[in-house]
């Protein structure tokens, strides 16, 4: 905070400067008492503390006759105008040169020579200018942010205005960006007014413009950087013992920084509030200008200029100010309205005289006078407004407020007149447009715009004219469209029928309708064959919707033909299929949502099958079930493989997975199948199937899998280190290649088996070949 001038602080006279020691002493005492009283004021406490802390310095300067004159001089200077800008001319020249968006080295050189200053000075000015430009852009962004967001179109506009890329603009934006302009701004969280006040008051004391400025960071800094800086600032402050006003205010601001920059959302709220504060300044300007209930032309211009300074463009500024005044019900004078205004003034005068005469109706007169005034104001306002629709809405507002009044009728009349003007305007513009479209052979669009007009003015003055215009368009397009049909000869039957039908639709009263109808009738057989072919084609792809649509097209045209019944029944069957397709898609979607909860996914299909045992979808559902089963198996196997791989790591390099799904025993060179048959098939198998199983096994790309011998299995299950074990509740046992004929209850075959149980002492075991076991396949 720049030190205030003590003459001003003490409110002492400067011209001539107060020099009476006693009076100064008194002034200090008076102020000391005042500030001490304010020491605990809810909003001015910190400022009061600031002044209290200044007292020793004030005494030192103001009570010293040698220091005081300088203070008086300074006070005078502060009253005088600011120092003239040194580089005013250079700046102007630069502005011209830079208006193309850049400046060349040569230009810099020339300018430096012209003004006989160093190139560096010129470059410094350029940098300053650029900085200015950016700050201006930032201002413009800010003012647009005040509504809580920035629309894409605004970004585009700004980019164009400053010949910058949209991305560059986007980088500077710190609030949400919306595609659409029309968003309810109330949904954005805004900082509470009282918090804004606290921040504002304390920023003033520390001499900073925003919390960003206070932290010494730019508005575009990341939230983390800001939070970090806040922490640092807090620590810095804690180290300062002198708790003067600036430190106290800084403490409050740090607290606000912690709260405001806690989340992006609260930060946005603050950004918006900064933007809003700029608008507040503008608003206060408008308030001052409109003090007497109207805005003079000169004021309006000044306000527009001010608004432009705040970052609006001219149009926006005019609109904003007008809107503001409209809400306040203030009239904006223009040169034109000034002239008009004289007429109503005389009218008022006349009314006044009349009201004096008719004393019996004084009360009414007062009312009427007021109403009249309002009516005249209305006339001015209406006249001021260039947009006809706006005029109507202004008058409507008036007649709403004075619906019983004597001017209501006039207002109504005015509305009707304006409405008629609008209708005429629209009619003329329609004719113009329709003609252009017809010249461009675009009869469809021409008819459409006519239709639009009729919809807007169903009982309009120009209804008949428009209808005849439409007929005219229709005749002209009829010929053209019929000619077009000739070009359809090379089309396939479907396309041909389509263009014929289009003609019939577009020209309900066309000259060539009979001819076209004959064409269509002649095409019946051709189209039937075409249809069948198409149905076959799409039916193969199960595109039932298209099939049904094709049938529908046929029936619409040839409903009474000999094929109609057949096509109708076909259509019904397609619709049924379509329905089933939808159900299937639905079920599949549901199943898909279950992810790898395979049981749940299967249950969806099973439930459906249970509910509709005779559904035609049975086959498909079963195939879906099989697919899931397959997925589940794959998943299970993959998991098992993962588990085994983890175990392999701890087997000390004896068992190695060389190819996917196979484990090589490095001691024997034998290659084992990683998964046993039990895991692959999820069931146990008899000996006969076991032999088939190994024969058809293709794991790892090998086709020479076989059953292991007892010795081979024994080596991996009954001696250390053991083969990674299968995860199952009880150990399974494996078929071996060693089998014998045996007699017990009759002749049968027995096979030596080895259990997967890891043990070092074991007894050889044999099983009847009809029993169920598992296979641990091996290859050479």
């Amino acid at each position: 905070m720049e030190r205030e001038n003590f003459y001003q602080v003490l409110e002492l006279s400067v011209n001539p400067p107060e020099s009476d020691q006693k009076k100064i002493e008194e002034a200090i005492k008076k102020k000391q008492a005042e500030w001490s009283r304010y020491r605990n004021h809810p909003t001015k406490a910190v400022l009061a503390k600031h002044y209290i802390d200044l007292i020793p310095e004030i005494r030192r300067v103001m009570l010293d006759p040698s220091l005081r004159p300088n203070e008086a001089r300074q006070a005078k200077i502060q009253f005088q105008n600011k120092v003239k800008q040194k580089y005013l001319q250079i700046d102007r020249h630069l502005e011209i040169r830079m208006s193309k968006g850049f400046i060349t080295d040569e230009e810099v050189f020339k300018l430096a020579k012209l003004h006989s200053v160093s190139e560096k000075k010129i470059r410094d000015r350029i940098n300053a200018k650029l900085k200015e430009k950016y700050s201006r852009i930032d201002k413009q962004i800010e003012i647009r942010m005040s509504k809580g967001f920035i629309a894409e179109e605004e970004i585009a506009k700004l980019a164009k205005l400053h010949t910058m890329s949209e991305d560059e603009i986007r980088k500077r934006i710190t609030c949400p960006i919306k595609k659409n302009y029309k968003v309810d701004s109330t949904q954005f969280h805004q900082l509470d007014k009282s918090i804004e006040k606290v921040i504002h008051a304390n920023l003033k004391i520390v001499g900073k413009s925003s919390l960003y400025d206070f932290l010494g960071l730019s508005n575009s800094s990341s939230l983390e950087a800001i939070q970090k800086r806040t922490k640092e600032k807090e620590t810095e402050l804690l180290k300062i013992i002198k708790k003067d006003a600036v430190v106290t205010a800084s403490g409050i601001l740090v607290g606000q920084c912690i709260a405001v920059f806690k989340t992006q959302e609260s930060r946005n709220a603050y950004n918006i509030s900064i933007a809003r504060s700029h608008l507040d300044e503008l608003n206060s300007d408008i308030e001052v200008a409109g003090m007497d209930g109207k805005i003079r032309t000169e004021y309006f211009e000044a306000l527009v200029k001010a608004a432009v300074k705040f970052g609006m463009d001219r149009d926006e500024a005019c609109q904003y100010i007008k809107e503001y005044c409209r809400e306040k019900k203030w009239n904006i004078e223009t040169e034109k309205t000034k002239k008009h205004f004289r007429l109503p003034t005389t009218a008022i005068f006349a009314t006044v005289i009349i009201t004096v005469v008719i004393t019996a109706t004084i009360v009414w007169a007062v009312k009427s006078q007021h109403e009249k005034k309002e009516y005249q104001r209305l006339l001015v306002e209406v006249d001021n407004q260039n947009v006809l629709e706006e005029k109507i809405s202004i008058i409507k507002k008036f007649s709403d407020s004075y619906s019983e009044g004597s001017y209501a009728l006039k207002a109504e009349k005015m509305i009707i007149e304006i409405q008629n003007i609008i209708e005429e305007r629209d009619y003329k513009s329609l004719l113009h447009r329709a003609d252009i479209l017809c010249t461009a052979n675009n009869y469809t669009e021409a008819t459409a715009v006519c239709k639009q007009y009729l919809e807007k003015y169903p009982n309009g003055i120009y209804k008949a004219k428009i209808s005849s215009k439409m007929e005219d368009i229709s005749v002209r397009s009829d010929d053209r469209d019929y000619e077009k049909l000739n070009t359809a000869i090379d089309f396939d039957s479907g396309e041909k029928i389509a263009v014929y039908m289009e003609y019939l639709n577009n020209h309900p009263k066309g000259k060539y309708r009979d001819k076209v109808n004959q064409f269509i009738a002649d095409m019946q057989e051709e189209y039937y064959i075409f249809l069948k072919e198409k149905i076959f084609f799409y039916g193969k792809q199960e595109k039932w919707k298209i099939c049904a649509q094709l049938c529908d097209n046929f029936i619409k045209i040839y409903d009474s033909s000999q094929h109609a019944e057949e096509i109708k029944s076909l259509q019904a069957s397609f619709q049924k299929k379509l329905y089933e397709q939808k159900i299937l898609a639905n079920l599949m979607l549901k199943a898909e949502h279950k992810g790898n909860h395979y049981e749940a996914a299967k249950q969806i299909y099973l439930d459906y099958l249970k509910a509709y045992p005779n559904t035609s979808l049975k086959k498909k559902l079963n195939s879906e079930l099989a697919k899931i089963q397959n997925l589940e198996d794959l998943d299970r196997k993959a998991k098992e493989k993962e588990r085994l791989r983890a175990l392999l790591k701890s087997a000390g390099g004896i068992f190695v997975e060389k190819k996917d799904g196979t484990i090589t025993d490095t001691r024997t060179g034998l290659v084992w199948c990683m998964l046993d048959s039990n895991l692959e098939l999820k069931r146990l198998i008899d000996y006969e199937f076991a032999l088939q199983y190994v024969k058809s096994l293709r794991t790892g790309g090998y086709n020479d899998w076989r059953l292991p011998t007892v010795g081979e299995l024994e080596k991996i299950y009954k001696r250390k280190p053991f083969f990674p074990s299968v995860e199952s509740k009880e150990p399974v046992w494996y078929w071996t290649s060693e089998n014998y004929a045996c007699y017990s209850d009759g002749w049968s075959k027995v096979v030596d088996v080895v259990s997967s149980q890891k043990e070092t002492s074991w007894n050889k075991d044999q099983k009847d070949c009809r029993q169920l076991g598992a296979v641990r396949a091996v290859r050479p």
Binding site: K243, G251, G255
Partner: protein, 554 residues
């Protein structure tokens, strides 16, 4: 009960409310209600012609006579530039505070029917030397013997440690009062209460919460009436709004919303304030207390205290639900509300009672050992244990207190230096620096010495500028320190150049600073008189004291 001990009263001199307590004949600390039968008295002074009104009446008068009523003077304690003017006479914060103390004592005397002469006053742990000295002066102006100034959180911890007695634990005292915030870590042991470190902000308290409500109400008034003027310019409205704000804040500690009416310039506006809004507009304040708490935790960690067992809440402002909620959220611990309004006064009373017992003990030991009182005071530790035991037993018999009770009163209380203290020195680049002799949060008492050297032969004087700062470093920039006083060393003649002069800073357990200097050639002690303008003293002090005695206080 036999012998009557001299009662020393404890006074909690708060920013917004004050209270007085003593230890009764059963050894229990009790608060004495004032003449209006309130247990706490608003720290508000109303200059009503020739008499002074303190308390609720003064507070209510603020609405009618905003310019004659002064409150929150504690925030200006030790500020030489603060002056409340009444009848063209300027009053300093000390003097105004003395009226509050007199009111408390006077009412207690009347209630108890006994004369009070000795008091213990509390102040925020965060107070520097001058603020402490100013607090002491306030008691003296009121005409009392101020036995000690103790820290508010320490007092609260004493009250807590002696009532909720159990095994040792580390507590964090979160003291959010009307005007100040103190955060202190305290190690409570069965035989000692030791402050580890303390921090806070003496410009952060319930009043700030009130002020936010006021600001909010001003906005509401603007919105509803369209009146743009600053309604706080009107002293009546300003006072009225402040009172309403405080009331509504209290209501909102219990309820979700409260209606407030704002009257200004014939306009009357009704506003409903919701707790949610209230918490929104004060969020930054609560965040500051949390940030300061983290600072203290960091400081404590440096001293080896990496954790704490509980958080106790003291001070009326901790009743706001947002305080408890925010602490729970931040530290995942359920804070304990401990007698928020009275803990400090009661702790001060217990401390006073301890001092009084100690007096008795020393008297008896002196008698028993036939030594002088001063000898015993200086070296109580060296008294043989059996003699102490014997004397304690004797005291128990005389006073009627039980033996364990007396033993428990022997609990040692250790505080820390609230700031760092040093002197201005020049480094080799001839830049002014502050060299800290005592670092903040050093356990008290402390005696720090440092050698400085004479610059010229036969140097006559040395100017010592005594500085206070918040730094924990040995040297600190002069601009980050404040001068709390100066002392002139008058040296003996004929000293050579570069002669070491030993300056020692002695801080007693109470936090009072004493400075000694010794020139090392002949080990002569040099007199050091500290001069400061920061608190009332000398003639001004005497005047204020006389004035105070002649004033009638209601």
């Amino acid at each position: 009960m036999g012998e009557q001990m001299k009662r020393i009263f404890g006074i909690d001199l708060g920013t917004t409310y004050s209270s007085i307590a003593y230890v009764d004949e059963y050894g229990k600390a009790v608060v004495v209600p004032n003449a209006e039968n309130q247990r706490v008295t608003p720290s508000v002074v109303f200059f009503d012609g020739k008499s002074i009104v303190v308390g609720d009446v003064a507070k209510e008068s603020a609405k009618l006579y905003p310019c004659e009523v002064v409150s929150f003077v504690k925030r200006s304690m030790g500020d030489p530039n603060f002056a409340f003017e009444y009848n063209s006479k300027a009053y300093r914060a000390e003097e105004i505070s003395s009226y509050i103390i007199r009111k408390l004592v006077q009412d207690a005397e009347y209630k108890l029917g006994e004369k009070i002469s000795d008091i213990v006053i509390t102040c925020p742990a965060y107070f520097g030397i001058n603020e402490r000295e100013a607090t002491r002066k306030a008691g003296e102006i009121a005409g009392f013997n101020v036995r000690q100034i103790i820290n508010e959180p320490t007092a609260a911890a004493i009250a807590y440690g002696t009532t909720e007695f159990s095994e040792s634990r580390v507590v964090l005292v979160y003291d959010l009062g009307g005007g100040t915030f103190d955060i202190t870590m305290i190690d409570i042991q069965p035989d000692s209460i030791e402050v580890i470190c303390a921090g806070g902000d003496h410009n952060l308290g319930g009043k700030d919460w009130d002020d936010r409500i006021v600001t909010n109400l001003v906005e509401e008034f603007k919105n509803k009436t369209g009146i743009e003027e600053d309604i706080l310019e009107d002293p009546d409205t300003c006072q009225d709004l402040q009172l309403s704000a405080e009331k509504s804040k209290k209501i909102m500690s219990q309820r979700e919303k409260t209606p407030i009416s704002i009257t200004h310039g014939g306009e009357r506006v009704k506003v409903e304030l919701k707790r949610e809004k209230f918490e929104e507009i004060t969020r930054d304040l609560i965040e500051r207390t949390i940030a300061l708490t983290h600072e203290i935790l960091k400081e404590a960690a440096k001293k080896g205290y990496k954790r704490f067992d509980e958080i106790i809440l003291v001070g009326g402002s901790t009743r706001m639900p947002q305080v408890v909620d925010r602490i729970k959220e931040e530290f995942s611990i359920e804070p304990k509300m401990f007698d928020p309004d009275e803990a400090v006064a009661k702790g001060a009373a217990i401390y006073g009672w301890k001092l009084s017992l100690n007096d008795g003990l020393i008297k008896r030991i002196a008698k028993r050992t036939s030594k002088s009182l001063d000898q015993i005071y200086d070296d109580l530790e060296s008294t043989p244990e059996d003699i102490v035991k014997e004397v304690v037993q004797q005291m128990a018999d005389d006073t009627g207190y039980t033996l364990p009770y007396l033993e428990r009163s022997m609990v040692k209380i250790k505080d820390v230096a609230s700031k760092s203290f040093g002197v201005v020195v020049r480094n080799q680049h001839n830049e002014e620096l502050v060299f800290n002799l005592i670092l903040r949060n050093t356990a008290l008492p402390v005696d720090a010495k440092k050698h400085f050297y004479t610059a010229i032969p036969d140097q006559k004087t040395v100017l010592i500028r005594i500085m206070e700062n918040e730094s924990s470093a040995e040297t600190v920039q002069a601009e980050n320190s404040i001068e709390i006083g100066t002392a002139i060393l008058n040296l003996p003649t004929g000293l050579p150049v570069d002669l070491p002069i030993e300056i020692s800073f002695k801080m007693n357990p109470e936090g009072r600073l004493q400075i000694n200097a010794v020139e090392t050639s002949e080990l002569r002690t040099v007199a050091v008189a500290i001069e400061t303008k920061s608190f009332i003293q000398g003639e001004e002090f005497e005047e204020a004291k006389t004035r105070s005695q002649s004033l009638v206080i209601h």
